[in-house]
């Protein structure tokens, strides 16, 4: 793997470089996408449905969750389709195939960083200062990346044989988003499902992000360590099993893709 680090770098670089080529707005899309979603969710959930935002301004409340969520969703989406999309590489050159889904996940980091500055801007507007837990943000990003990669490994390998995956992913991501406290907070669900929600690793990531940044204005918010522990273990299981499954099926990719 280490031997191929340069190739990984070039694959990430290609993904980033190509993503917004021949678009009139270019990099603006990275900012526009979360802004538009934030506006829609604010109107529907914040204003019309009055979803409690634990005292934080709803736009900041939803954006602080949307940014890690969008990173995760687009990384998972890209990595799941990455192998099939790169079938010309898979059938013509040898390199560890894991580089393909891995580079898809990593290339999303650039978008994440740009979108994150947008969030900081919004916080400045609302005069919200982040809590010291913001130092944990890279850890949350790592957890989101590992989760996206773990599921991406499973789905991309399955996608080689069953193209059904292509059709399943949009539904999967939609359901998953509503199962994750993006537009609502964990307080809405209450303690009944607390640990159950921790089974979804993205709950830990999204809640962690939100609480680390908005904790100063939110009521009774603390980074929930037991919940994070459950999330991280689930991610580890998915990642390790995904890696094994990927290694196991890798040898037949070129024959069936």
């Amino acid at each position: 793997m280490w031997e191929y680090r340069e190739l990984l770098y070039f694959l990430v670089w290609r993904d980033v470089k190509v993503r917004y080529k021949q678009t009139a707005l270019g990099v603006m899309w990275i900012v526009l996408q979360p802004v538009v979603s934030m506006a829609i969710f604010t109107v529907i959930f914040g204003i019309l449905l009055q979803v409690p935002s634990e005292e934080a301004p709803y736009p900041a409340f939803v954006l602080s969750a949307l940014i890690p969520w969008n990173y995760f969703a687009s990384s998972l989406n890209r990595s799941s389709t990455s192998l099939v999309y790169s079938s010309n590489l898979v059938t013509k050159v040898y390199f560890p195939r894991i580089l393909i889904p891995l580079s898809s996940v990593l290339s999303g980091l650039v978008d994440l960083v740009i979108a994150f500055t947008l969030l900081l801007g919004l916080m400045a507007v609302y005069r919200i200062t982040p809590t010291p837990a913001a130092l944990l943000l890279p850890g949350f990003v790592l957890l989101a990346s590992a989760t996206a990669l773990g599921f991406g490994l499973w789905l991309s390998a399955l996608n080689v044989r069953y193209r059904d995956i292509n059709y399943i992913i949009p539904f999967l991501l939609q359901i998953w988003m509503y199962a994750t406290p993006v537009v609502y907070g964990t307080s809405l669900v209450g303690d009944r499902f607390g640990l159950l929600m921790g089974l979804n690793p993205m709950t830990g990531v999204v809640e962690g992000f939100r609480q680390a940044l908005l904790g100063n204005v939110m009521t009774g918010a603390q980074v929930n360590l037991p919940l994070l522990g459950v999330s991280a273990s689930i991610t580890l299981v998915v990642l390790v099993s995904g890696a094994y499954f990927f290694r196991y099926t890798e040898r037949s990719f070129a024959d069936i893709i």
């Binding site: 190739l7 070039f10 190509v18 010309n88 898979v90 013509k92 040898r251 024959d255």
Partner: protein, 446 residues
């Protein structure tokens, strides 16, 4: 002491070819039967699926060794397993049985421009493609100018390659690949791209790679390229070694396998190498001595009589007939045509055309003859073609007064007369052509 670079033992690669599933029941029936008796339905579905899987061995029991620094050509007809072999050697796909051991860094070039991204510029694609082919960034940077010069795309370096002409694209792609420096290079048929001049350049590059002492395995259908570049060749047939050794021999075996020797009087009505553009016209072919006796062995300088039987559905007013001579390593040596001398032949119903080749200059060897027949006007149009319709063998005899030609002395024999010239006299010529006998071809009808 040479080292083994590639060692292949009992290699086999199996593919399952699934046939299109033939659904006999409608979707509703399938659903109702699946719901009523799910287990029976599942069993039946699996049985049907398995019955439709056919197994194909692309490679089987293949064993060979390549020493370090050897340049080996791989030849064989389509489907003989050449590309599969390279895929296994380059680790793209795993063998079903047996093993392949490779000592050294492998670079494989199974396709030109793998991983090129149309949106990226030429410069960016050089780096990307180089990395995909296994080069390090500093290696690419060091050879960047060389690559650009080789590809002749200096002016377009910062243009996305999607705006390149296909020629430029291929040149750039090959240039990157040509500057790979692995210890073992696997190349699949990549020279079949680009224009003639660029192909020549690529061959030159490959030749220099080979001389640098790197191990090269080179798949091609171009027998000239194989003979020029590879001292040794592996001839694959049905996924296993049919011949491994001297490339001339390998090419010879390969060409014989694709076109079995036909001599004497040959009935062409069921010829395997036929390509009838309108309908089968050529019915037979035979080779004779000038006295009319059927023969397939000649000597250089002989007159050969070629008789071509035909049958047409309606008369062809201005027809032509051609015969192409190809030697045993696949070079086309000469073509004779009824159009060359404006010989007036007419094809009505059926009959025989006769062609006399006077003072035939071919050197010793086996020559296969392809026949073509068609209309000469208003536009020249081939109507029927038979590849390797017949074969003749030629002995040099005493055409050169007992002289012999080595392998590197050309494809035709030519008499010559040499003498010392008195330098005090004005120079007229140092080589005087041989006897001015009439050398030519005449076609006429019987």
């Amino acid at each position: 002491m040479s080292r083994v670079a590639v060692s292949v033992e009992g290699l086999g690669k199996q593919y399952q070819i699934g046939h299109a599933l033939e659904h006999t029941d409608t979707l509703r029936e399938a659903l109702t039967s699946a719901l009523r008796a799910p287990r029976a339905w599942w069993r039946r579905w699996r049985q049907e699926r398995d019955a439709q899987q056919e197994i194909l061995w692309a490679l089987r029991n293949l064993s060979f060794q390549v020493q370090q620094g050897e340049v080996i050509g791989i030849i064989g007809s389509n489907g003989s397993g050449k590309s599969t072999l390279l895929k296994v050697l380059s680790r793209i796909t795993e063998p079903t049985e047996g093993r392949a051991v490779i000592e050294g860094r492998v670079g494989s070039l199974l396709e030109v421009g793998t991983g090129f991204h149309p949106e990226l510029t030429g410069r960016e694609n050089i780096y990307l493609n180089g990395a995909i082919l296994g080069m390090h960034r500093h290696e690419i940077a060091a050879r960047f100018d060389e690559i650009v010069a080789f590809a002749e795309v200096e002016r377009f370096l910062d243009t996305p390659v999607k705006r390149y002409s296909s020629g430029m694209y291929v040149r750039l792609a090959f240039a990157v690949a040509a500057h790979l420096e692995p210890e073992i290079l696997l190349i699949d048929e990549v020279l079949a791209v680009g224009d003639a001049a660029f192909q020549k350049k690529c061959l030159g590059k490959m030749g220099s790679v080979a001389r640098e002492g790197r191990t090269v395995l080179f798949v091609s259908h171009d027998m000239d390229a194989i003979l020029n570049l590879c001292p040794k060749a592996l001839f694959l047939a049905n996924g296993t070694t049919a011949y491994l050794g001297d490339s001339g021999e390998a090419v010879h075996h390969y060409l014989q396998s694709v076109r079995p020797l036909q001599t004497g009087v040959v009935d062409l009505r069921s010829a395997p190498g036929r390509e009838a553009y309108e309908y089968p016209i050529l019915t037979s072919v035979s080779t004779h001595r000038p006295d009319g006796a059927v023969a397939s062995e000649f000597r250089t300088g002989d007159t050969i009589v070629l008789r071509v039987g035909y049958a047409v559905q309606e008369p062809i007013r201005s027809p032509y007939c051609m015969a192409h001579f190809t030697n045993d390593v696949g070079h086309r040596i000469m073509s004779v045509s009824s159009m060359h001398d404006h010989c007036d032949i007419v094809l009505e119903r059926d009959g025989v055309l006769e062609c006399r080749l006077h003072d035939m200059r071919l050197r010793e060897g086996t020559y296969s003859i392809d026949l073509a027949i068609g209309r000469a006007s208003p536009v020249s149009q081939c109507m029927d073609y038979v590849e390797s319709a017949t074969t003749i063998t030629v002995q040099l005899g005493d055409y050169l007064g007992g002289g012999r030609l080595t392998d590197h002395q050309g494809v035709v024999a030519q008499k010559s007369e040499w003498s010392s010239v008195d330098t005090s006299l004005p120079v007229v010529g140092s080589v005087i052509a041989g006897p001015s006998r009439y050398a030519g071809v005449s076609w006429h009808e019987e």
